[in-house]
């Protein structure tokens, strides 16, 4: 081969730099291999070897084993010529492996050299080293090999990624403190000889490396086998990762050569790591809360710890958090706390905020064997659905090996939520008829109604209605306090209210008023925790009447006794109003007063009309109907306001009056044989009292009729 001058190597270095700048890694690698060839010709074997080993590694990672093998074959020549024992043995192991693309004869030759070196003898020279200059170097190298092997005490050989003689450990992913860790070690021997090796593993955690000495392992020729090694986990290492950092072995009988494998550089790093988990808990966590929970309730989950440990469990810590706390739909509507209330400050002891993954924690000093203990965690949700609460228990207990170990368990509880009540409300006018609108300066009533939807019995502790201006409220007719409701039971409360014109800001006909909010305080019959639910009342239209009509009438009448009925009209406008009043006759009453009347009501003034009614019958009687027709200034009926006045009459004036029968004096009472009988003396010895057949007295209109009686 022509020995190129130094220039070409420099040019190749420049090319490598350029390809590196343009991130053409493979092209750069190829030029490096070409540069290594030039260095070989230039007899700079050390540098060439380093370049070839680096390039071979890159080809190996991308799966180009032909190219990798070609580079390694050149590198092994360099290793032989530079008498680099460690690298030579490393390259032998790579080239003898199953992933190498050397042919069988080549592999056998390399294996022969490998064992020669292990026996302390110089390897045979590479067959391609045939040219004159190389032959001189081979002779020199052979001599140096012997000196090196005889004079050195030990050689540390790095085991390559794919090696003919290999130990491949495999750690279990997770291991518990109470368990023994089983490490499977794969034994690979692609050589023609059986080998016995002493192996040692080094771990990242203190105290394990000494335990990592394994007894002598047999590596059968051209066979893969497995050895399971057991290791005891130390109690203090819960929550840590146990990693095999290094694996080293020595072939039995060949003490000079120590083979080591740095596993952190390997591809299958995850197979060398085990997570040390706490021991399985023998304390059970049970959910004793009375499901389902109610929306708005501070629901006590009632977690019960039941110990199955033989010894006392100490340093018990119970953590609870919302499993879906990262979801704003859950975290914004749910609060999990160790007390039944919202925390007043972010650092309130014992409390927690409903923020993502914040954990509520309760600690317990100890739990005796076989004992149980109840813990309270409170959940408050403002929407329907279900909430999943994750619970983790951690404690220290003496395990079966008489060592105090950390134990833990994790459980999840699902809490379903239902509404406690369904809510509706109604508006009533003065006549207690349901209404959709509210009239200015007229009394009305708001009647919230709640129907219990909870499967648990609930006690109402308080209720109130908060209204907003312009609605003013009076005290409710009755209180709900102390009432117990079961599922499907309904309860309602009446709040008299009024919208006064003085409180209005805008014109009432355009106004929609908000009726306010109804607050209900309640609790379960089996609990002392009080909860509050708020219901929003809707809006309604506010209407202003032009006229106010009031009717004064006694609560009842008596047959044939006159009753005075007074109608008072109040003009609420600034204009003169004129009305035509007509009292329609009724079969039940005679009345005296103006049957037809036209009257004028001055602005902001009122006027009244009286009628005298004479009831002719007894019972619930229809009152004579008063008809009011508004008139225009010309005295003509104003049709656009007729409807309004009819509505006013319907809600302001009663339509019926209850008339009691007339009192009967003792002289008028006649029973039996027609002769007057003194009631006072009946049954005392004077007169007879006979019960004859039934007398029917028809309740007819005012006509004189003779009533025939028997006897």
């Amino acid at each position: 081969k022509t020995k190129h001058c130094q220039t070409i190597t420099r040019l190749q270095e420049c090319a490598i730099e350029q390809f590196s700048n343009f991130k053409s890694v493979r092209m750069m690698n190829h030029v490096q291999v070409q540069m290594a060839d030039e260095l070989l010709i230039d007899q700079k074997h050390s540098r060439a070897m380093q370049i070839l080993i680096t390039s071979a590694d890159m080809y190996r990672k991308e799966g180009w084993s032909t190219l990798s093998t070609a580079c390694l074959l050149k590198a092994i020549k360099c290793a032989f010529l530079t008498v680099n024992v460690e690298t030579y043995v490393n390259l032998c192991l790579s080239l003898m492996s199953s992933k190498s693309e050397c042919n069988e004869s080549e592999k056998q030759r390399i294996e022969q050299n490998f064992y020669l070196v292990l026996d302390g003898k110089a390897p045979l020279p590479e067959p391609s080293l045939t040219c004159k200059s190389e032959r001189a170097l081979v002779g020199q190298a052979t001599k140096l090999w012997k000196d090196r092997l005889d004079n050195s005490d030990s050689f540390d050989i790095q085991v390559p990624t794919s090696s003919a003689v290999d130990l491949e450990p495999l750690m279990p992913k997770d291991v518990r403190l109470s368990d023994t860790i089983n490490i499977d070690v794969g034994l690979v021997n692609s050589t023609a000889k059986n080998l016995e090796v002493n192996c040692q593993m080094k771990f990242n955690l203190d105290g394990y490396s000494a335990d990592g000495n394994m007894e002598s392992l047999s590596l059968v020729s051209c066979k893969k086998s497995k050895y399971t090694y057991q290791l005891q986990i130390k109690a203090n290492d819960a929550g840590q990762k146990l990693i095999i950092n290094e694996l080293s072995f020595q072939i039995v009988g060949i003490a000079k050569f120590c083979f080591s494998k740095r596993l952190e550089d390997f591809d299958r790093k995850n197979d060398m790591v085990s997570n040390i988990l706490p021991r399985d808990s023998l304390v059970d966590v049970k959910f004793d809360g009375s499901s389902p929970a109610l929306v708005g309730e501070w629901f006590d989950m009632g977690l019960c710890l039941q110990s199955r440990e033989i010894h006392s469990a100490t340093n018990i810590e119970v953590l609870c958090w919302l499993r879906d706390g990262g979801d704003p739909l859950i975290s914004d509507t749910t609060c999990l706390s160790t007390f039944a209330g919202y925390p007043t400050t972010p650092t309130t002891p014992g409390g927690s905020q409903s923020m993502e993954l914040i954990k509520s924690c309760v600690t317990l000093a100890s739990l005796a064997p076989g004992a149980s203990h109840k813990l309270s965690f409170y959940l408050n949700a403002s929407t329907l659905g279900s909430r999943v609460v994750s619970c983790q228990l951690r404690y220290t207990a003496v395990a079966s090996n008489s060592v105090s170990t950390l134990s833990s368990c994790a459980v999840q509880f699902t809490v379903n939520l239902v509404q406690p009540f369904s809510f509706s409300y109604s508006l009533y006018n003065k006549m207690l008829d349901e209404s959709k609108v509210v009239h200015v300066d007229e009394d009305f009533a708001i009647a919230p109604k709640i129907t219990c939807a909870s499967p648990h019995d609930l006690v109402i502790t308080d209720s109130r209605l908060d209204t907003r201006v312009p609605v003013s409220l009076k005290d409710p007719v009755h209180l709900l306090r102390g009432n117990v409701v079961s599922q499907t039971w309904a309860i309602s409360q009446l709040f008299p209210a009024k919208v006064e014109a003085a409180n209005l800001i805008t014109k009432p006909d355009d106004e929609t008023i908000n009726l306010g909010k109804f607050y209900l305080k309640w609790k379960r019959t089996s609990s002392d925790i009080e909860n509050e639910t708020c219901y929003e009342l809707g809006t309604c239209h506010l209407v202003e009447s032009l006229v106010d009509l009031r009717c004064q009438l006694p609560g009842y009448g008596v047959l044939r006794r006159p009753v005075t009925i007074q109608y008072r009209l109040q003009n609420k406008t600034d204009v003169l109003q004129e009305y035509s009043l007509t009292m329609e006759p009724s079969d039940s009453f005679m009345f005296s007063g103006p049957k037809q009347l036209k009257l004028k009501v001055f602005p902001r003034d009122q006027t009244s009309v009286k009628y005298l009614l004479h009831p002719l019958l007894s019972g619930s009687l229809n009152l004579p109907r008063l008809k009011i027709v508004p008139l225009t200034s010309a005295g003509v009926p104003s049709l656009d306001k007729v409807g309004m006045l009819e509505q006013l009459l319907a809600r302001s004036v009663p339509s019926q009056l209850f008339v009691l029968p007339q009192d009967r004096s003792a002289e008028e009472f006649t029973v039996g044989s027609g002769s007057p009988t003194n009631i006072a003396s009946a049954g005392v010895g004077g007169g007879t009292f006979e019960l004859k057949e039934t007398i029917v007295v028809p309740n007819l209109g005012f006509t004189k009729q003779s009533v025939k009686t028997n006897g």
Binding site: S24, V25, R26, M27, N29, H30, V33, Y59, E62, G63, W64, T66, L67, A70
Partner: protein, 140 residues
């Protein structure tokens, strides 16, 4: 003439390599490996433009003795054909090269349709080898 036909997987490892002259196989391997840089460069430049990319990449690079053509499927499988530059092969048309790649693509699709074939492993199919050999032989 087509000297080498190769199929390279999406992880850039070789799945199939066929060469017309076994003595030059190592050299072809180096050329195939370095062509991956050119393929990556072409892919990154076409990805910035439109969504629809032509599978045929055309001439990747050429040396004194070889011209290397590339073709990348939608699943990032690369087909590379190395053509020796000589007097008889100067008029190799673009259309002919496209046809060779299409033929190779169909053959690869048939390999993938085999339920016993594990994707991303070496292709050992005789039928595929016959197609690859026909591409090598056709142009020779």
């Amino acid at each position: 003439m087509a000297s080498c036909v190769a199929v390279i997987g999406k992880e850039n490892s070789p799945l199939y390599i066929a060469c017309i002259t076994p003595e030059q196989e190592l050299g072809f391997h180096y050329s195939l490996h370095t062509s991956l840089d050119f393929i990556e460069e072409k892919l990154s430049s076409t990805n910035k433009g439109n969504d629809h990319r032509d599978l045929y990449l055309g001439l990747l690079y050429s040396t004194e003795h070889q011209r290397i053509f590339g073709y990348v499927t939608n699943t990032k499988i690369k087909f590379v054909i190395i053509v020796n530059v000589d007097a008889t092969n100067t008029n190799l048309r673009d259309n002919e090269t496209r046809q060779m790649f299409r033929k190779l693509h169909v053959a690869y699709t048939n390999v993938m349709s085999n339920p016993f074939y594990t994707p991303s492993t070496r292709i050992n199919s005789n039928k595929f080898a016959a197609v690859a050999n026909s591409i090598l032989a056709k142009q020779s």
